[in-house]
């Protein structure tokens, strides 16, 4: 046992994030105590608000659906060594794609609209990621910079379209008309009612299943296809990739297209699933949360699903907290979310070493006994 520096896999995947989470919540408790509220009460409210009832579970999973899509988007690009910060813009434009399909074909039967809307969301999202990918591949323009810029271009474009072109005439709010009801994603409570289960009405919808499906596909793609292999090789060593006959620039563009397409899935959940119209700023920052979700989920689809659910729970529990504790406002909830990101992402190494030492010692002593 001369390599105690490596953390066992189970500890790396499960224990370390949990320790980080615990530390973040402990810090949050401190801040809440400073505000003069009871931390215990606040934590109970948050957990109860996130998982305590059918309604809260529905909302938590609804938010989680957004984060699964954007988290997967970040992860796919990350495996190719690209840091795609443009999930927000790609989701925004992807939603436009899905929304246009629903606006035009809202009277078609759902089974016909769904594949087209999925293609619209994925296609528009991918198209928005194409140019940054191309610029990175051919010109070496750094993907972080270009994708951030594309976020702003996306919101400028969407504001223009919603205010001048797509707006429903005669109203103040820059929103389109409602989609034809055929194109609405079936809600979870509707689906469950069909099989005789009673579930409170929440925005949770079929898109959650699509998100899980997307996570499965990403897993197959990255670890069980040649393209996925090429993508990982480029991510780990572009030079080795060239030596192996893989073109890094082609893979870069492919990874970005895929990443954008996944981010576009957010539109399916938010627009087709819940709002039923295109409206301004519907991604609401989920594209950025996706980065934290991917980091915490170790860029693995299973990890991403779990960390997306955690963030969904933080969103939902946090909003319950502000609802019931007037002194804890929405900025405080952002602080709690920020602490989770900080301790699970940035401070990970702070916990890694002591944990490794601790587990290594225990293993050693266990061996000594046997």
């Amino acid at each position: 046992m001369s390599t105690p520096k490596q953390l066992p896999r189970w500890a790396d995947l499960i224990l370390l994030p949990l320790v980080g989470l615990a530390a973040a919540l402990l810090l949050s408790c401190g801040v809440i105590a400073l505000l003069g509220e009871s931390p215990w009460q606040a934590m109970r409210l948050m957990v109860d608000g996130a998982f305590g009832s059918q309604e809260s579970i529905g909302y938590s999973l609804f938010y989680a659906t957004n984060f699964i899509f954007t988290g997967l988007a970040v992860a796919v690009a990350f495996h190719a060594g690209l840091f795609n910060i443009g999930g927000e813009g790609q989701a925004y434009i992807g939603g436009l794609g899905a929304g246009l399909v629903c606006l035009w074909l809202g009277h078609w039967p759902f089974w016909a609209v769904l594949p087209l809307a999925v293609m619209g969301a994925a296609g528009f999202g991918a198209a928005w990621a194409f140019l940054p990918g191309l610029l990175q591949a051919k010109r070496g323009s750094h993907i972080v910079i270009t994708t951030i810029m594309f976020n702003f271009i996306a919101s400028a474009l969407m504001t223009y379209l919603l205010v001048n072109v797509l707006i429903k005439p005669g109203q103040q709010s820059p929103e389109t008309r409602e989609f034809g009801s055929n194109s609405w994603m079936p809600f979870a409570h509707e689906i469950l009612a069909r099989v005789g289960l009673d579930f409170t009405a929440t925005p949770l919808n079929l898109a959650f299943v699509l998100a899980l499906g997307a996570a499965g596909l990403v897993w197959v793609f990255i670890w069980h296809t040649r393209w996925g292999y090429a993508l990982r090789v480029v991510g780990q060593s572009p030079e080795a990739a060239v030596y192996a006959g893989i073109s890094p620039s082609r893979i870069t563009i492919m990874a970005m297209l895929l990443s954008g397409a996944l981010a576009g899935g957010l539109g399916l959940n938010e627009l087709m699933g819940s709002q039923h119209r295109i409206l301004i700023d519907f991604p609401g920052g989920a594209g950025f949360v996706g980065i934290a979700v991917a980091l915490m989920g170790r860029n693995h689809p299973v990890g991403i699903v779990f960390s997306a659910i955690l963030f969904g729970a933080l969103y939902q529990g946090g909003s319950q907290l502000t609802f019931d504790m007037p002194r804890v406002n929405r900025d405080m909830v952002v602080v709690i979310q920020g602490l989770v990101i900080l301790s699970c992402g940035a401070l990970e190494n702070m916990f890694r070493q002591p944990l490794t030492a601790l587990l290594g010692r225990r293993r050693k002593s266990g061996e000594g006994r046997s």
Binding site: P169, Q171, Q172, S173, P174, L279, I280, Y315, S319
Partner: protein, 330 residues
Amino acid sequence: MIISSRFSSWLIAVLVVTTALAAGAKDFSPAIVYDFGGKFDRSFNQSASEGAARFTTETGTAVREFEITNAAQREQAMQQMARRGATIIVAIGFTQASAVEKVAKQFPNVMFTIVDAVVDLPNVQSVNFREQESSFLCGMAAALASKTGKVGFIGGMDIPLIRKFALGYVEGAKFVNPSAEVFQNMTGSTPAAWGDPTKGAELAKSQFGRGADVVFHAAGATGIGVMQAAKDSGRLSIGCDSNQDYLHPGSVLTSAVKRVDVATYKAFLDAKNGTWKPGQIVLGLAEQGVDYSYDEFNRAVLTPEMKQKIDAAKADIISGKLKVSEYKVQ
């Protein structure tokens, strides 16, 4: 003995009355949902929160508040408030219209008041303002105070509501000086445009650079930067929504005041007194829902001659002699 028994009967009477009042107060449960800007934006939402605070201090009834952070929360917050027995829910901002429409149908016994949008349902009151009228007066003030004949407008996002402000402002400026030049800039295309004082200051400076000497903002917290830049460059600014004259006395020409606080307060009070009515309410100069501000902070810059002209136009708008166009979508 007699005194004490009388005293005790008094006491009982007082107790009965207070418990009855307390019960009444308990049954009446007001709630308010703010928009993205949040209740401390020093402008639109804050005005609403002041109205709510005034209601609380005057009646002793606490108002349940919620500031949204994403689109899905609007509906969720309103549903929750309604489910927990809210009597009236005030929704601030046009973005809440679709959520109000949905939730008001689910809870037909709850009263809803929405500000800046129209929702046509039997349990919804829609309060809108004729912002173009106060903007018109501010445009007049700007053109009257300008020495260069060039004035500026800085909006938050390019949305219909802000175009409404801009159109009234331009008309007012041209009414005074037909050859007046009006520069228009929007701060951005994301909701961050309502809270970016640095960018507001930059835009104001660029308009000053092109010769403008009065600038009007309709940009929420971004306007703080606009007004600061005007103060720093020795030019004039015009505030928005709340009366902002006090921010930089002597540099703020006037403010286009929009009494969201009165609308909020009145909705709560009417609901409490049982005089709340659904339907559309449009508040303009005539109803004192919008106005320009004149107080001890801007008396030095808004001269009596200017005020006289503005007041004359104001009277004409109220009497219907002077028509201000309203920005209409398509």
